[in-house]
Amino acid sequence: MSLPTLLQAGVLACAVYLCMVYVAYFALMVVGFAESRRRKRELRGADPDVIDSRFAPPVSILVPAHNEETTLPDAVRSLLALDYPEHEVIVVDDGSTDRTLERMREEFGLVPVAMPSRGIVATQRIEGHFRSSAEPRLVVIAKASGGKADALNAALNHCRHRYVCGVDADMVFARDALSTTMPAFMRNPGSVVGLTSFFETSANPAASLLAGVSYRIPDLRPLILFQVLDYLRAFFNNRLAWSRYGFMLCAAGAFQVWRRDLVDELRGWSPAFTCEDIEFTFRAHRFLRERGSPYRILSLPVRVGVTEGPDDMRKLVAQRERWQRVIVETWWANRKMCFNRRYGSVGLLGMPYYLLSEIVAPVFEVLAVATLAVGAAAGLVDWNVFLLVLLLISLVNSVLSAGALLMADLESPAYRLAGVVRLLALMPLELLVYRPFMSWARIKGTWRFLRGDKGWHKYERNVHADPA
C-alpha cells in the first residue's frame, strides 16, 4: 500500500471518528437543553416550604480528607452552614501527613471519644474518633491511609441518616446545596437512588464563594477559565442528557448523594479502583439493572459549590491523566454491560458513548498527529484545507461550549459580564492552546492503565491567602 493511500485511510478514519463524536455531542446538547428546561419548570412549581420542614430527609455528609490542611476547615465550615433542617458532617482524616487533624482540632475544638461503628464495610485501622464540643453535628475520624474509597467507607460505618452525601474536602459549598438538590429525592423517594449536581471550579474556592451573593469568576486566568468550560460542558451538555435517558454514569465525587440503603447493599465504595465515584455509579447501575428495580440516578443543573481546580498545567495534566485512567479502568471492569440489552440505556447508550468519546479517543488523537506529521514530512498536506478543518473543529467546539454556557446562564446568571466575555473569547482558542495538553493527559492516562498503574498521584494543592 502506498504512503498517500495510507495517509488517506488515516485521515478518513479520523474524520469518521470526529463526525460520530460530534453528532453524539450535539445530540446530547439538544437533549441537555430540553432537560434543563424541564428541571427549571419543575423548580418553578416547587414548594419551598417542604425543604424547611421536619419532613425533609436528614442527610449524612461524608468528607474524606488526605493532606487537606489548607482547604478542609473552609469546606467543613461551609457544610455546617448549609441551610438544611437536619444534617451531620463526618470528616475522615485518611492518614494525612500534614497538619490536617491539628487544624481541625484547632478550628472545631475536637474531643477524643470512643464511638460505635455500624461495621458495614471493613476499612483500614481506625486510630481515633473525635466529637466537636462546639458543633454537635460534626464527627471526625482519624484512620490509617487507605485511599478515598476506604475513607468514605469509614464514614459510612458511622453515619446515621437515610441519605449520604459524599463530597470532596477541597470544595466550598453554597448554603443551599442540599436544599436545592434534596427535593429531587423527596419528589420520588421510591425511585431516585442517587444524584449529583453542577459545581464550579476555581483556583481558590473559598474566595469565590465569599466574593458575593452570586458566584463570580474572580480568577480570570485562562487556565482556570478553560477548566470552567470543561465543567460546564460536562454537566450541561452531557450529564443532563445522560440523566434524562437513565444512563447518568458518573455521580461526581465532589458532590454525590445516595440513598444509604443502596450504599449499604453495595458494601460501600470500592478501594480496588483508582477513584471511587465513577466506579460506584457504574456498579449501582449494574446492580439495579440486574435486580430489575426501577430507579433513577440524576444530574441536576443547580450550582452546589466551588471546587479547587489546579492552577498550573503540570498539576492539571496530572489530574486529567488520573481521570482518564479511572474511566478506562471502570469501563473495562464493566465491559460486559456494553451493547447488552439487559442493561437498557446504560448498555446501549452509556457504555458505547464512553467507549467512543473517552476510551478510543487517545487512539485517534495519536493517529491524527501521526498522519499529520508523516503527511507534512512527505509534502502531502494541503495546508489551506488543514487550517480550514482546524478552524471548523474549533468553531464546532466553541458552539458546544457556548451552548453549555447559555444553559448555565439560563439556569442562573452566575457570571458577571466580564467573565462571560472572557469565556466566549477563549472558546475558539481552546483547541490550540488547551486541548493538546488534555489529549496528552488522556494518552498518558490510557498508557498508565495499560501498565496497571493504580496510584492516586494526587496533585499538590494551590497556595492561596486565607480568604478570611
Binding site: G128, S133, L395, D409, L410
Partner: protein, 344 residues
C-alpha cells in the same frame, strides 16, 4: 464543490451559529446588568431574572400559570377560584400538582377552605405527600382535629403522615395516637411513638416500654427514644436489655436513651459489663463514657478494676481517648466542656 470550499462554507455556517449564541448570551447579560444598575438594592429573584424571551408566551399554555392565576383570584377573595384550584391537585402534571399544593399552603394562612383542601390532598396522596405534610405542619395549630379521620385511613402512608402531623397537638395526640401504637404498619407504630414523645404521660411510657419487644427494629428503636424522652430514669432498667439487640440501630437508640438518664443509668449499666454479648458490653462502656463516669475514674484514680473492665468492653480506642482527654483536661458529660470549646 471541492473540499476547500466545503470546509470554508461549513466554517461560515458554524461561525454564524456561534456568533448567534454569543449575541444571545451577551444581550441577556447586558439587560441584566442594566436592570441591576437601575435597581441596585432590589435584586430580582433568580428565577425571574433570566426568563427567556419566549417564556411569557409559554406560560399561557402552562398549567403553572393557570395555578398562579387561580391563586391570585382566590387571594382577592373570588370564591369561583376555590374549586378549580383544588382541582389542580388532581392535575395529570406533577409539577402543576406541586404548585397547587404550594398555592393552597400560602392561601391557608388566611382561608380555612384551603386547609381542608390540603387535608383532602393528603388523604388522596398521589405523589410526594411530604410536600402536603410540610404545608400542614407549618399551619399548626390550625389543622389539629381535621387530621383525626386520616388516622383511620386505609393507606399506611396517610396514617403515617397524619400521626406525625399531630406532634404539636398534645391533647389530641394523647387521646387519639396511643391506639396507633398497635397499627399493622411498623412505620405507623414508630411514628405514633415519636409523636407521643412530645405528649409525655404515664400511659405513653407504658406504651413505649411495651413496644420494646416489637418484632420490627424500627419500632424497638423508636420505643427506646420515646421512653428516654418521656422518663429516661424510669425507662433505664427496661431499655438496658436492648443494648444486646440484634439491630445496630436499636442498640444505638438504647444507648442514647441510657445516656439521657445521665449518671443514674450507671446502676443498671454496670452489670452489663459482665454480659456474654460483646455488643452489650460495648454499649454499656460507651454509656459510661458519655455520661462522664470514665473520665471521673481516670481523673480521680477510682476503682482500677472497674476501669479495666470498662476499657476491656470499650476497646483500645476508649482507653486511648480517655487518656488523651485526661491529658488535655477535658471531661465528657460536663456542660462546661461546651462553653470552653466555644471560647476556643
Amino acid at each position: 464543490m471541492d473540499g476547500r470550499t466545503a470546509a470554508a462554507f461549513a466554517c461560515v455556517g458554524v461561525g454564524v451559529v456561534f456568533l448567534l449564541i454569543c449575541g444571545s448570551l451577551l444581550g441577556r447579560r447586558l439587560r441584566l446588568e442594566r436592570r441591576r444598575r437601575r435597581e441596585p438594592l432590589q435584586l430580582p429573584p433568580v428565577l425571574e431574572v433570566h426568563r427567556a424571551p419566549w417564556a411569557e408566551l409559554e406560560e399561557w399554555r402552562d398549567g403553572l400559570a393557570i395555578a398562579r392565576e387561580l391563586e391570585e383570584m382566590a387571594e382577592r377573595g373570588d370564591p369561583g377560584a376555590q374549586a378549580p384550584l383544588r382541582e389542580e391537585l388532581w392535575s395529570g402534571d406533577p409539577v402543576v400538582r406541586q404548585a397547587a399544593v404550594a398555592a393552597l399552603g400560602r392561601l391557608a394562612e388566611r382561608h380555612d377552605w384551603a386547609i381542608d383542601g390540603l387535608v383532602e390532598a393528603l388523604a388522596e396522596h398521589r405523589d410526594a405527600p411530604a410536600s402536603v405534610a410540610a404545608q400542614l405542619d407549618r399551619l399548626a395549630p390550625r389543622v389539629g382535629i381535621r387530621l383525626a379521620p386520616l388516622l383511620r385511613h386505609p393507606s399506611d402512608v396517610v396514617r403515617f403522615y397524619a400521626v406525625r402531623l399531630l406532634r404539636p397537638y398534645g391533647d389530641i395526640a394523647r387521646d387519639l395516637v396511643p391506639e396507633l401504637t398497635g397499627d399493622t404498619s411498623p412505620n405507623v407504630r414508630a411514628a405514633a411513638l415519636e409523636t407521643l414523645a412530645s405528649a409525655p404521660s404515664g400511659t405513653v411510657l407504658r406504651r413505649a416500654l411495651d413496644l420494646l419487644d416489637d418484632p420490627h427494629p424500627l419500632v424497638r428503636a423508636q420505643a427506646c427514644r420515646t421512653a428516654g424522652a418521656v422518663s429516661a430514669r424510669a425507662a433505664a432498667p427496661f431499655v438496658v436489655a436492648l443494648l444486646a439487640d440484634a439491630s445496630w440501630w436499636v442498640r444505638e437508640a438504647a444507648r442514647e436513651a441510657l445516656v439521657a438518664a445521665g449518671r443514674s443509668a450507671a446502676d443498671v449499666v454496670l452489670p452489663v459489663l459482665g454480659a456474654p454479648d460483646p455488643d452489650a458490653r460495648l454499649g454499656a462502656a460507651l454509656v459510661l463514657q458519655d455520661v462522664g463516669i470514665v473520665d471521673d475514674l481516670v481523673a480521680d484514680g477510682g476503682d482500677p478494676r472497674l476501669l479495666a473492665s470498662i476499657f476491656a468492653a470499650g476497646g483500645k480506642g476508649m482507653r486511648t481517648a480517655a487518656t488523651e482527654r485526661a491529658h488535655r483536661g477535658l471531661r465528657l458529660g460536663r456542660p462546661t466542656l461546651v462553653a470552653e470549646a466555644g471560647r476556643r
